[in-house]
Symmetry: C2
Subunit: 266 residues, 2 copies
């Protein structure tokens, strides 16, 4: 990863069209000034840069200022409190959720499951663009499914209290052609990143789907309770399933799609 | 399960309002006449009866006639070809998908995972109302997430070939109050069951979500490729994640919801 990060500023010849007011190097400097170590500042800046490149600017460099206001301890380290062959439990332990998932992904890549593993990460917030984490697993040959909870911003389409986070679900599947498919879908009609980016107001946040919004609401509720049940914590958390594939379905699927843009394509 | 099935006709004093032309006993008789053994015919009829009770009549008794036309071997038995503590692989082996999932669920209940288990079921179609299977796991205290593929009926919202099944995702979370939450969401604006029920035409089937239909499409693609990658088979399949919960979040969530109807509530 260090090499990949280091090479980005050199290989990016034109800035992304929706680049924020800072770039990856500047973001890293600001994060270092907030007290984050070099590795952590680099990991955070790389995530924000990837979000900018993907056009998901709500998850991009503007999050640096937001982090400054979150007041997280920049020196906190996530802890892996249970490590079994097919199950891990992590505790964010006061670290930013981004850095919890950074550590979780690195641990999976360092020691992939024999067949499959479920990772329950408690006290893990904020988690950013989930496709960033699943893509990294898929780029190394692993199937990944990841969800995460966040402050309650979605209610039932018919009304009532806010009950769930926007609770994105990301699914990434590796491909022998080097182009994994990476779905990354929030259950909201906008993301809180969009709110931060000024493209939506918090009041407008609701389950997506129009006349079928009960479907996105049902998924948001299911994911909310799944995370709560498996992390065993009242706070925000993440659940990752990672598995070795038994087949390589993406190339044939791309052929079938005849050039249709698939999730995660750039 | 035998007791539960046997008791249903006696405890149902009024027929569900959208009951089809047959009831559970008649469905079981017809299935027996197709060559299904008593246990299998009972399991199938119980599934269809549950769908009728849930108002999902497209997955209900009318499927009996549909099964007759599928021409499945009523004597085929699903096989569990890999059984590890945290991973199982099943092969439908020519049996109806309903009966594969019936066997998978029974196996999980007979031998629950210590923490978590992923079950990949190849050649598993049709699978019916997925919430029926996850609910049974949650009623016995297990968190369950299940998806399954089916014939390609959804394309990209902007057009192009049909690429994915309606690919439902069901998530069930147990509750100490005896009322699990059971989300069960197809990625289509209708189900094929609705087509069979005459409530939608096959041509109208598309990802749900209106202006956000790319989200349901992305989930359908992710689930399609996840199942294909993990079952290692070109046909239709199912993937189940089952886990023991570390917390009991549903009662507090119901309290927060203040009477709002939650997914799977009857």
């Amino acid at each position: 990863m260090a090499d990949e990060r280091d090479s980005r500023p050199r290989t990016r010849t034109t800035p992304p069209s929706r680049m924020s007011t800072v770039d990856e190097h500047e973001a890293q400097s600001r994060l270092s000034a907030l007290g984050f170590g070099a590795d952590d500042a680099g990991a955070l800046a790389a995530h924000f840069a990837a979000a900018e490149r993907a056009g998901r600017t709500g998850h991009g460099f503007r999050r640096v200022e937001w982090i400054a206001h979150l007041g997280a301890d920049p020196r906190a380290r996530p802890r892996r409190v249970v490590a079994q062959p097919a199950y891990e439990r992590w505790d964010g332990n006061g670290a930013l959720g981004y850095l919890v998932l950074e550590a979780v992904v690195a641990a999976q890549l360092a020691s992939p499951p024999e067949r499959t593993r479920l990772v329950a990460a408690a006290r893990t917030f904020p988690t950013g663009m989930l496709g960033y984490w699943t893509r990294r697993l898929a780029e190394r040959g692993l199937v990944a499914m990841l969800t995460a909870t966040s402050p309650r911003r979605l209610g039932h389409p018919d009304g009532g209290p806010k009950l769930t986070g926007t609770n994105p679900l990301s699914i990434a599947v590796p491909s022998s052609d080097g182009r994994p498919v990476v779905a990354d879908v929030s259950m909201g009609n906008a993301t809180y990143g969009d709110v931060l980016a000024g493209r939506a107001s918090e009041d407008e946040l609701a389950p997506f789907g129009g006349e079928h919004a009960h479907k996105a609401f049902a998924l948001a509720v299911g994911l909310q309770l799944l995370v709560a049940a498996l992390t065993g914590d009242d706070g925000f958390g993440a659940v990752l399933v990672v598995a070795r594939p038994d087949a390589d379905p993406v190339p044939a699927f791309r052929q079938l799609a005849c050039g249709v843009r698939l999730p995660g394509d750039r």
